[in-house]
Amino acid sequence: MFKKILVALLTAVMVCGLLASCGGVTTQNNAMTADLLPRNEVEKFTVKDDFKIGVICLHDENSTYDLNFINGINSVKKTLGLKDEQVLIKTGIDEGPVCKTTADDLVSQGCKIVFADSFGHEAYMIEAAKAHPEVEFCHATGTKAHTEGLSNYHNAFASIYEGRYLAGIAAGLKLNEMIADGKITADKAVIGYVGAFPYAEVKSGLTSFFLGARSVCPTATMKVRYTGSWYDQAKEQESANALINNDKCVLISQHADSLGAPTACEMAKVPNISYNGSTYDAGPNTFIISSAINWAPYFAYIIKQVTDGKAIDTDWTGTIKTGSVVLTGINTNAAAKGTEEAIKKAIDDFKAGTLHVFDTSKFTVEGKKLESYLADVDDDGTFTGETEVVKDGYFHESEYRSAPYFDLTIDGIEHFLDESK
């Protein structure tokens, strides 16, 4: 009998201890400064009671990418006072025919707008748009709306290359700090980057990030490894470790959706610049800053247009001004001194229109300045360029369609393409 009581007591102590330790983890978020480009609430307007929007997500909230969309729609839902049954979020929808059937399903439940968040959803969203002309279909990161000629199919993206550039400044300053502290020499300022697929959206992001870093640390170079998947925690972690150990990278950033890279960085004590939102919890000592697209303004915009009976833009590109490009604060545990001030200055330059990320005087391609480039803006399956995008001394990104089309490899960046191990 005594033993039983003892066991029960010990168990109780253990459970209490566990609960207490769990409580402790989430409270210490005080190393973060205030958001540099905050997620502001959208403007309020009245929506009819029978309005419904369906949101199709590739993964669930464990993916930083999808979480970013879920947070976006939920904040709009809260501001506009929408009920649970007015916002239908479908998670774990593969980039295949199930996307079409899910869209059909959402339409049959009365959705006036169906939104999908992943690049590979596009073909199936277009099929759905053709099948349901009375419903609006909006697709993030897609490339085909402007050539498809459907009045109810739309693409959206944001000038996130500006956000990446700003985050890049934080990376460059951190490299400078390492050089000043004698931890590395100037020629060893190698950034590592974990990317999903070697195509325009990822290349545009990593190039703008690199240009931001090099704007303050001129000797910076970068090495990129691709995982061939949007969400593969093990592979992302493995790629980050390979960059750190084999390629001698001293700072890591990523464009893939799990916590693989931030976790690898925290374990190896290598600074990390994140994407899609703060990964402070996965790397309290190494996370520096994160840029993200805030989708709330776009959700509010499409809901407003449908409520007012107005057409939705075929291509919609959010900017810093629309509140679509956001930046977290900086983690004072990891960031270099002066980071906040440098980023604030660059934000002002972007707002004034004096700073262009892809300024052709700031980078070279195969040793030469870029004078002209035909980008693959019309996505017709041929993967050949047809639109001139270099004018007025800079590459005009996200102007001829919302999704990025900067797919050049600039000098100083090295890609490891043979990752299909």
């Binding site: 025919p97 059937t101 690049f119 073909a123 999903a196 697929f197 195509y199 061939g228």
Partner: protein, 382 residues
């Protein structure tokens, strides 16, 4: 005296597991129903404790997610049919005790060659005969797709069978390795055709050779083909000479040899059949539904099918129900993960599916074996 009886009782194990004679159908059905009820009960209690949701709401959501409206019924029927055809495909080999865990790769091989034909042959046809393809070219393309899918699936199955029958290699490892080969070839082809940012060649690129819709319904042709194949295999296994040979080889290779069955020939022939049907599944997935090339096209069904096949005791008709049950659960669980007002994610629905499977597979143990507990012997205290 009291001491010795106590010792004797200690030596006797707590319980004894012994094989049962065949259980009556009615009784075994009852055991299964009880198992499912128990599983639902555990799921319900767990839901209540962990999520504070009403378990009835969860169950209603599961049913609603699987068969709530016409789109969902059709999707569930289609998913069931694909799982069913792969289960039917692996059955002849398993009945022969050939441990083929390469169905995944065989499906992918079939799907891959289908997609390649859709892209290259379909593209050439479109250039020569006009786009969209005239009806005869479309039919010819589908015939070519079918033929190549059957052949490549069969090839993927025959290679391990050849090695097994000639050199006694281990078929489990071999078929498993063939999966990875198929996946990597698919990736290589995918990268060649599509340089974009999704891990697949999608339906905007594979535009030729789509299966026709029957009565305006998607997937219906797939479903009908699967039912026909299921019926054929049922007859083949139960009534044909080949089917009999498979059973004999499965029971004992030596007996088979003794009665004059050419064991090597049976193994190779059966694996060719298994592989070809898997290849056909690949064709149905790519040509009949997804119109895309994706290394995850089989989606683990090559492995789930093994479970379906065993659970159904290699009976293709029973497999219809087993695969329907599994797909029903998966689709329902998916709905639980995203239904408004419940606020759960996919992990929880996977937990629920796991509990149900645990009970269902667990109950098979009680159907096949008898557990006898040690008789309670009263201790002599004096």
């Amino acid at each position: 005296m009291a001491d010795t009886t106590k010792k004797k009782a200690d030596k006797e194990p707590l319980f004894v597991v012994s094989k049962r004679a065949e259980m009556k159908f009615g009784k075994s059905l009852l055991v299964r129903v009880i198992a499912i009820a128990a599983a639902l009960l555990v799921c319900g209690v767990l839901t209540l404790i962990l999520t504070k949701n009403n378990p009835l709401t969860i169950f209603r959501t599961i049913v609603n997610g699987a068969v709530g409206n016409e789109t969902r019924i059709l999707e569930t029927a289609y998913q069931t049919s694909i799982l069913l055809i792969i289960s039917v495909a692996v059955t002849p080999a398993f009945k022969m005790k050939f441990w083929n865990i390469g169905a995944e790769g065989q499906v992918i091989a079939g799907g891959l060659s289908t997609a390649v034909m859709m892209y290259y042959v379909g593209g050439t046809f479109a250039e020569s005969f006009g786009n969209p393809l005239p009806a005869w070219a479309h039919t010819l393309l589908i015939l070519i797709m079918t033929l190549t899918a059957l052949l490549s699936g069969a090839l993927w199955g025959v290679i391990p069978a050849l090695f097994k029958s000639k050199w006694k290699t281990n078929e489990t490892l071999f078929t498993l390795m063939m999966n990875y080969v198929a996946i990597q070839i698919t990736e290589a082809v995918r990268v060649t055709i599509n340089k974009g940012g999704s891990g697949k060649v999608d339906s905007s690129i594979l535009v030729h050779g789509w299966f026709p819709k029957l009565f305006g319904k998607e997937y219906l042709l797939d479903i009908i083909i699967v039912l026909i194949i299921t019926a054929i295999i049922y007859v083949y296994l139960k009534y044909s000479k080949h089917g009999y040979e498979i059973s004999v080889v499965g029971e004992s290779e030596n007996t088979a040899r003794y009665v004059g069955i050419n064991v090597q020939k049976v193994i190779i022939r059966t694996m060719a059949l298994s592989g070809a049907i898997c290849g056909l599944a690949g064709l149905l997935i790519v040509g009949g539904a997804s119109h895309s090339l994706d290394k995850n096209m089989a989606g683990g069904r090559g492995f789930t099918a093994i479970m379906v096949s065993w659970l159904s005791k290699f009976n293709p008709v029973v497999m219809i129900f087993s695969s329907l049950f599994l797909v029903f659960l998966q689709r329902g669980a998916k709905e639980v993960a995203s239904a408004p007002g419940i606020g759960l994610n996919e992990s929880f629905s996977e937990i629920l599916t796991g509990i149900l499977l645990f009970f269902i597979i667990g109950c098979e143990f009680f159907i096949n074996y008898k557990v006898t507990f040690r008789k309670h012997t009263k201790e002599v205290t004096a």
